[in-house]
Symmetry: D2
C-alpha cells in the first residue's frame, strides 16, 4: 500500500511521535510506503510529497512541532479543492491519507470522506482537548504542564509582593487548559469560555480573600473567556497603531478591571505559543505513539472514515463523523472540583 | 460528621493533594471535621489522631510525600487489629475513614469493611498503576516522567560512547512504568513481569541492532521482570557481606548477562526512590484532587464501601471489593505498540 | 549579638536561601539572635520585627520569593527615614542589619552606612545581574533558565509555522538575561539596552535569513531595549482605556514593526514575572547560601559597610561603596559571541 | 586555515555547543575549514576525518553528548602514537587541532604540544569541575542540576517513611558535584574524596539528628569518597559472579554500614550516567559557546599551546601546561558552608 500523511492546523507536541509511529509500523512491519505532505492540506493541493523512511523519522519522538510543517489551509474553501485532492491521490497512487488535525482540519476530512469518497483516517490533535469522541488529545497535558509550571513560579513572587497575578492561557472555545492548570496550580479563580464571568463577582471574591488575610491571588483566564454582557467598564479595546487587535487579550482586560475596582497591584502573564511548543511530556508521547500505530493499522485494514480515540485506557476506532459532531466542553463536575479551592 | 483519613503503603506523589481536597471540601463546604492518622494503619491502631484544618493543608498541593506519613503496617495481621480499629473510631467518634492506599492497604480496608463493618471509603494510590477498577492512579505519570527524563538523558551519552544502557525502573508486579517510560523514551527493549524474558533473545536482538549499524541500545527493565527459567548464566546472586540481598536487582543481572554474552560495554542506572518522590506532575495533582473531593462527597453521602475511580474522563464510585479483586497488568495491545519501536 | 535582616526591591529566587543561611550559621554556630523585618525597609521604618529561628527557616531553601516579603520603600525619601531606622535599631538593640537588595536598596544602604553610621552588611540580589563588584548575582541564572526553556519551546512551533517569534525578557538597564538566554536558546537576533537597535537593520537581517532558506526566526528583546532615535514607524504607543501604559512593551512594538516591514507572521511572548518566581536552580541556591553565610560571618566580625561578592570561585567582602558605584553592563566580548550565531 | 577538532574522555553536556561555535565562527566568520575526528584521539590515529559545515552543526546546541563521538584512547600509550598524529596532520594539511577533554585528554595534548610540537588549543571539559586554571567547566552545573533534582525528590519520600537516603553522585577525584548538589539539596551529610570519612562519626551525627526529632536524613556520597583506613566493618566488597567489581560502589557500602550501625532503614540511589547525559542547562550552553568561539579565535591567531578558561566573568587563554598541572579540589571554605547545614 501507499499511504499519505499530513498534519494540519496549529502545531501540537506529539505530532512527530504520530508520524514516527505511522512510518515505523507502516514501513517496518507492514512494508507499506508512507508519503508526507508538507504544510497540511496545502501540500496535498500542490500534490507535492516526499517518501518518509525510518531514517527520516529517527530522533524525532521527543521533538515538538511537526517535521512536515503545517498550515491552516482549508481545502473545502478552494474552488476546485476536492478535485485537486483526488488528483493528488491519483498522481501518487495513494490508497488513502492519514490526517492529523483539530476540529477544523478533521471537519474538512470528514466532508472529503463522506461526501467525496476520499479514503481518510483521522488522528485527533489539539492542545485544547476539545474533540468529543476521545477522552484526551495528545499535546493537552504538555500545555497544562507548561502553564502549571508558570503558575507555580508566579505563586512565590505574588506572595512576596502582595499582588494579583493574572495568567492568560490558551483555549479559545473550551477551558480545559485553564481548569487543569488552575486546579493543578492552586488558582484562586478560573475564567473559561463555558462560564461567562461577572467581573464584579470576581472582584467581590478577591476582596473577600484579602478581608480574610490572604495577601495575594492567582487568576487564570482562558483566552476565550467572555464577560457577561454589559458587566465590563472597558467598553471596547483600543487597536494598535496599525489598526490591528494585537493588544486585546482578555487577560489584559481582566487585569485592568481588577486594578481599577479593587486598587491592588495586578500583573499579567501571557504565555502564548510557549504552551504549544517544545518537548511533549511522556504521557503525550505515549498517546501519540498509540494513535499513530492505530492509524496505520486502520489504513492497513482499509477501515477508512474512522478516527483514533482514547476510551478509558484503550485506543479505539470511532467514525470520523462522530468525532467532529460537537466540541467537547469542560464539564460541570470538573469545574466544581476546581472551584472548591477558590476559597 | 467526623471523618478520619490515612495514607498507607509506599508514598506516592499526589497524596497531599488528596488530603488537601478532603479537608478543603470537608471543612469549608460541608463543615465536617477531618482527622488525620499518622503512619497509615499504625496511627489508627494507636488511636492517635490530629484535627486537620484548611490552614494545615495550605501550600501542600505540589509537595510530594504525605504530611501524614505512612507505614506498611497491616492491621489484619495484628491479633486484635480489628478491635483496636473499631475502638479508635469509637474513641474519636468518627463516622468513617478515608483510606488512601495500594493493593495491600486497600485489601485490608476491604476486609475491614465487608467482614467487620468498618465504614471506609478507598482512594487508590500507587505509582505502579496496577489497581484494576480505575483507568489510572495518580503518581504513576509522575514516576513515568522521572523515568523518561532519565532515559532521555542516557540516550545522548549512550550514543557518544557506543554503549548499552540498562535502566531499572519500579514495578514489582506490573510493568506499567517500564512500558510507558520505555515507549516515551524510545527504548530498544523493555522487560516486564508480565512477559518472562529469554536473555538470549534479548542479546540476539541487540546483536542485530549492531549488525545494522546502530551503535547503542537502551534496555528498560522493570524491577519485577523475570527470566524464563533456566535461561540465565548467573545461577544465583551473591549476598552482601551482611547477608542481605541488596546487591541483586534484575537490572544488574541483565547487564552482566549482556556484557558477558555480547561483549559490549554496559552501564546500569537504578533510579530507585527518585521515582516516587517529589512534586507530582499537574495531571497527577488534578487526578488526586478529583479523587479527594469525590472521597469526601462519598463519605458525606454515607456511601461507605466504595472506592474512587477514573473511568474515561469521569470520576466514579466503584465497590471497594471490585477494586482489589485482581491487579491490573499491562495489556498486550500496549506492549505491542511499544515493541514496534524495538527495531 | 542581635542582628536584623531584610529583603528589599523585586523578589528574586534565592532570597530564602540567604535568610536560611544567616539564621543557621548565626543562631546554631554563633548563638547570635537574628530578627527579620517584613516588607523591606518598610519593616524597619515601622520598627516591627520577628525573631527568626532554625525552625522557621526549615524547608525554604528551594522556595522562591522571600518569607520576609519585600517592598520598594526607599527610607532615604522619607522625611525622617534615617532617624526612624536608627530608632528601630535602638529599640530592638540590634548590632546591625544585613540588607539583601539590588542597586536601589543597596544605594540606600550605602548612604545609611557612610553618611549616617548605620552598621550594615549588603548582599547583592537581582535577577538582572547588573551589580558591579560581583561576578554574578543569584537569581540571574534561574531567570535565564526560565527564559531559555521558553525559547527552546518556541523553536519547534516557530519552525512548524514559518513564523517570527519575539520573546520579551526582563532587563531594564542591562541585557544580561537577554544575551544569556538568547545565546543559550539559539536566538537569531538579540536586542539589549546597551546597544540601541535600528529596526531596519533587524529586518534586513531577517530578510537575509529568509533569502537563504531559513523559514523562521527567534528575536529576543530585553524589556529595556531602545531603538535608535527616529527609526521606528510607531511614533508613540497608545495608552490603555484607563490612561495607563500597560500595553506598551518594546516586545509588542518590535513585533509590529517587523510584521509591517517584512510581512511575515509575528508572535510575541512576554514572560514577565514567571522569570523572577519559583524554585532557584541549584547554582543559585549555592551562591545564595554562600552569600548568606559570608554575610553573617562579616556581621560576627563587625565588618560593617561591606558587601558579599563572588570573585572567580571565591566569596569575598567588598566595600559597599564600590558595589553601587555603577551598574554592570553586558560587555562587548559576550555580545559578540552571541552575535556569531545570528547568521 | 584548516583546523581539526576532537572530543575525548567521558562525554559531557555542552560538547556540541563547543563544536557548533568552532564551526560557526571558523567557517562563517573566518572562512576557515574545520574537520572533525570521530572517537577522540582514535580518529586522529586512524587519520579519518570529515569536514564540518554550518549545516551539520545546526540544531545541536541543546543536545547532550557529542556528534563526534568520544573514546578514552590515549595516543601517548600507543608505540607510534606521536608519529601517527603528526602524519594525520600532514595528510589532511591541518594547521592545528582543537582538543576538548578532561585531565587525561589534556595531559596528552600538553605532551604532544610541548614535547612534540603539535599545534594544539585545549578546551577544558569535565562534569567533575576538577581542572585548575578555569573557574568552572561546562557540564558541571548540568550534572549538579540532575543530582539536585534527584535529592529534592528524595526529600519528600524520605520524610514520609523516616528513612536514611544515600545518594551516590559522580566525582572520582574531586567532590564538586557532591558538595554543590548536597548544599543545593539540603543534604545532612556530604562525603567527598578530599575528606576521608569516619563512618562512626557519620553515624553519631545521624543518631544525634534522630535524637533531636528529625525523622530522616539525606547522605550524599561522591563515588570517589574514601573511608579513614580501618574504620569500616565491611573489609572488602564481594565481586559479581563473573569476577567483576560492578557491585561495589561506596554508596552501597556506606548504606550497609549505616543500616548495620544504627538500625534504620536505608535506601540507596545511584544516579550514574544520567548525570552526564542530556540537555545542558543554559549556563553550560553559554560557557561552552564562549569556549568554542575563543578556541577558534586562538587557532586563528596561531596561539597554539593555550587553553580556554573562565576567569571571573571573562574568557581567557592560559598556557596548556598550567591547566593540567594539578587537579582542582574542593576548597575548605565551600565545604564549611555546606557543613553549616548538616545540623
Amino acid at each position: 500500500m501507499r499511504i499519505g500523511i499530513l498534519t494540519g492546523g496549529g502545531d501540537c507536541p506529539g505530532l512527530n511521535a504520530v508520524i514516527r509511529a505511522v512510518v515505523r509500523k507502516g514501513v517496518d512491519t507492514y512494508t507499506h510506503q508512507v508519503f508526507g505532505f508538507r504544510g497540511g492540506w496545502l501540500g496535498v493541493l500542490n500534490a507535492e510529497t516526499e517518501q518518509l523512511t525510518t531514517e527520516k523519522t529517527r530522533g524525532i519522538l521527543h521533538r515538538g512541532g511537526t517535521i512536515l510543517g503545517t498550515s491552516r489551509t482549508d481545502p473545502m474553501s478552494e474552488p476546485d479543492g476536492v478535485e485537486r485532492i483526488k488528483e493528488c491521490l491519483d498522481i501518487h497512487r495513494l490508497d488513502g491519507i492519514i490526517v492529523c488535525g483539530g476540529n477544523g482540519t478533521l471537519s474538512a476530512a470528514s466532508d472529503l470522506h463522506y461526501k467525496h469518497g476520499v479514503p481518510i483516517i483521522g488522528v485527533p490533535k489539539t492542545i485544547d482537548n476539545d474533540i468529543a469522541a476521545t477522552d484526551y488529545t495528545f499535546g493537552f497535558l504538555t500545555a497544562v504542564q507548561v502553564a502549571t509550571e508558570a503558575i507555580d513560579r508566579l505563586h512565590s513572587t505574588a506572595e512576596s509582593h502582595s499582588r494579583v497575578m493574572v495568567v492568560e492561557v490558551m483555549g479559545r472555545n473550551a477551558g480545559w487548559i485553564a481548569v487543569y492548570a488552575g486546579l493543578a496550580g492552586g488558582a484562586d479563580e478560573i475564567l473559561i469560555p463555558e462560564k461567562p464571568f461577572d467581573i464584579e463577582e470576581v472582584c467581590k471574591h478577591l476582596r473577600h480573600r484579602y478581608g480574610t488575610g490572604k495577601t495575594f491571588s492567582i487568576v487564570v483566564v482562558a483566552e476565550g473567556a467572555v464577560p457577561v454582557e454589559g458587566t465590563l467598564d472597558v467598553p471596547s479595546y483600543p487597536k494598535d497603531p496599525f489598526g490591528r487587535d494585537r493588544l486585546g487579550g482578555i487577560g489584559n482586560i481582566v487585569a485592568m478591571e481588577i486594578e481599577k475596582r479593587i486598587g491592588l497591584e495586578v500583573r499579567v502573564t501571557i504565555l502564548g505559543h510557549v504552551q504549544r511548543g517544545g518537548t511533549p511530556i511522556p504521557a503525550d508521547r505515549v498517546l501519540a505513539s498509540r494513535f499513530g500505530t492505530m492509524a496505520i493499522d486502520l489504513a492497513h485494514r482499509g477501515e477508512w472514515g474512522t478516527m483514533t480515540a482514547l476510551r478509558s485506557s484503550r485506543i479505539e476506532a470511532v467514525p470520523l463523523r462522530e468525532a467532529v459532531a460537537e466540541p467537547k466542553l469542560v464539564d460541570d463536575e470538573l469545574y466544581e472540583v476546581a472551584s472548591v479551592f477558590f476559597g
